[in-house]
Amino acid sequence: MSSGDIWIIGASMTPFGRFADQDLIDLASTAAMDALKDAQTTMDQVGVLAMGNVYEANSHNGQRLQKQIGQTGIPVFNVVNACATGATAVRVAMMAIASGETDLGLAVGVEKMGKMGLLGGARKGRTKTEFTPNGRYGAVMKTEGILGTSLMPGVFAQAGTEYALRHGVSAEQFAKVAQKNHAHSVLNPLAQYRKEFSLAEILNAETISYPNTLPMCCPTGDGASAVVLVSDARLRTLDPDVRRRAVKISASVLTSDPWTESDQVQADINTLTRLAADQAYEKAGIGPEDLDLVELHDCFATAELLHYDNLRLCEPGGAGDFIDSGAPWRGGTTPVNVSGGLLSKGHPLGATGIANLYEVATHLRGEAGDRQVEGAKVGLTHVVGLASACAVHILEAAS
């Protein structure tokens, strides 16, 4: 324990899924109240609130949340940062604590997507009667599908084949990632889908964007998650039971994509993940071999495979061998996405980066039930969104 450490003393997530009867603020309130209860604290103790949400980001959701759970005049930060939104909210609360402005903060991530479909961002094609150059590329028509694809499934498929062409990964090896995560999800009562698939079922399912078939793509959905954070000094004053269950944030790193030759046509998910991982390992004094579990950003099966390499979990270029070896399975040497991952647990964007902290913290506390990674002491979380933001956190158990 050092005086600069920041700790998670409360963590929660709602089930992920599609909840027509709950609005954004209902979900956020549930997660916030659960995290406060888990931390044995109340809103009057909270000195900063950071609220992460993507699709309704201009609706001052943090203040709307306060109206549901307690208005105390504290600073509220409404945060949006692609798929790293929730993790960024955590960092904002951490920075407020690290700066000495407060010693207890609440970070909440929430999203309500419903069934918006895999191509989420795609707008209906408009019919123009006169070609007029538009936008930064002087486009006279919508170019998606004409000049290649830049929709999410296509971007992550191409990220996968780039690695595959370089290192000889097969479509079957990519599919094994989905086989693993869907199998893991069966043990997670909070997951959106809890159905196991055979490798053949995954390979033979509808192709969305080769090599990713439908079970290799994460669903859209609703959900929220929250954490309560304290300074080291504050932790020392708390109840022994709170201290026993506290989880140390040994590293918290946020990066954006550095310039690459290709990033203007194909958003990069690799360089910034490597940058974040290396900084986090350095900061925590922990190496990839020390990790008992990893929750990483498997928005598509192809992405998870790349991140084995980006997070240094495997030999350089060896991500295909890594999945073949069984290492990232729950009983393997480096369990990855024992929650079911985004592929089956779900991916309500703003909630994702806090939900993976919840997952790892729950294992480090030894409270993960049927899916518990036995004796877990150290874990890593990773999120990356286009184009591009990445967050890596390394967590350690209290004792």
């Binding site: 150059p133 004409i146 290649g148």
Partner: protein, 152 residues
């Protein structure tokens, strides 16, 4: 040269005989007799951009000049899109291409939908086609790539 000179890079091609006007689907496609891709090149470090930049994202220099990129290159990444955007026929193949002599670009690989046909280092070459015609009869000319078997 100023970065915004790019807007003048690809004017509509007017034929005095009255045949339909052709416009490039994006302004980094130049419709010469032999169409080509043109980028803005950072005078200091050589980084290439298809849109205008206030400073180079790589080295922060502020001077750019237009540069003609090669019409040939190698497939760097690909996907076969089955669930496509509205009004886009599927399946089709999207490729990210390493152009000979520098530059990375994305477009469709025309006439191929079998992923097994793409091997590491697959060579491709530029091809233009009409992507649409507006009510005035103006044709929008797009670019894609074709397999370049001879040089494989």
């Amino acid at each position: 040269m100023e970065a915004n000179a790019l807007t003048a890079a690809s004017p509509a091609v007017n034929d005095p005989s009255g045949t339909p006007t052709r416009v490039p689907v994006v302004d980094y496609l130049v419709l010469d007799e032999q169409p080509y891709i043109q980028a803005q090149c950072c005078n200091a470090c050589g980084a290439l951009y298809f849109d205008r930049r206030n400073a180079c994202a790589r080295c922060f220099a502020t001077e750019f000049s237009p540069r003609r990129l090669a019409g040939t290159g190698k497939v760097r990444a690909f996907t076969v899109v089955h669930r496509a955007a509205p009004n886009i026929p599927a399946p089709y193949m999207s490729v990210v291409v390493d152009l000979d002599g520098g530059g990375v670009i994305k477009s469709n690989l025309l006439g191929v939908t079998d992923p097994q046909q793409i091997k590491a280092g697959q060579r491709i070459k530029l091809e233009t086609f009409t992507a649409g015609v507006d009510d005035d009869g103006t044709e929008a000319i797009a670019f894609g790539y074709k397999m370049d078997g001879d040089e494989l």
